[in-house]
Point group: C2
Chain length 132, copies 2
DNA sequence: GCTTCAGTTGATTGTCTACTCAATTAATCG
DNA sequence: CGATTAATTGAGTAGACAATCAACTGAAGC
């Protein structure tokens, strides 16, 4: 970090006209505060959610479940994605772990449903991409 | 898909009490419609955005830029993440490609700023994770 | 003009991830 | 009960990804 700090010092000299060591320390502290604004645990959760969504198979499943607005059977979801039965099960399991869908056994069948989190995220994401 | 269709047929028999081939076809069509609700091009864009965010280094950069509310110099961002100078540059480049940040050269320095898309997504994601 | 400096680019490498296959569970049906 | 069915689990593997190193670009400053 020593070298990086030198560069930051030169930058602050450019910006402030003058720059003492204490100015560098203050700026480093400000940057640290920005980074720590959310707790690290929450960031981990957010990254888990993002990782779960950032895959074509899983994102398709979430989108379909959100669009359906009701629970769908695994055997129906099988018709929607292009992976093996096992692959579908792995995908759904990852989505459950990320809190994006919930599963419920119903007799011989298992049904999955999008959570509020999934609905919110898919809606906002679609919106933020539409208005390029 | 032949086998999967058989299972779907049995499922629909369970649900509807009775099920002709045409019922299966109709359900398959409904599912296809759900999947196609958004154009495939838009889905690709959404997946690109998700992939760009789903990485600790890049997500941290976006969060800090959003929290800062102003443009930050590469040399400032260097203090925030734990990768090489080159790794930082690669990360910022990926974020630009995903439309999450913009870059601007200012003399010897290069400054990056969060886009509206990034602000929206980070805000909503943080919110959707807070209310567990 | 040559050097220094800020940042980028491309190639390479080790790690992580998303599948598939095979075996397994749990439930239903005959 | 034994067989079939729906779905899950775990091991293995091919491909994708993130980071680094080294070489490069372009602007600033002496």
């Amino acid at each position: 970090m020593a070298q990086a700090t030198e560069r930051l010092q030169r930058y602050l000299e450019d910006e402030l006209g003058e720059c003492r060591d204490e100015d560098v320390d203050r700026r480093l502290d400000e940057l640290g505060t920005l980074e720590a604004a959310l707790g690290p645990a929450q960031v981990d959760t957010e990254l888990d959610v993002l990782a779960a969504l950032a895959n074509e198979t899983r994102y398709t499943l979430v989108r379909v479940l959100v669009a359906a607005g009701e629970e769908l059977c695994v055997c129906e979801l099988q018709a929607v994605v292009d992976v093996s039965e096992s692959g579908l099960s792995h995908a759904l399991s990852a989505l459950v772990d990320a809190g994006l869908v919930t599963g419920r056994k119903d007799g011989r069948w298992k049904k999955y449903q999008a959570t509020n989190r999934a609905i919110t995220l898919v809606t906002v994401l679609a919106g933020s991409v539409t208005d390029e």
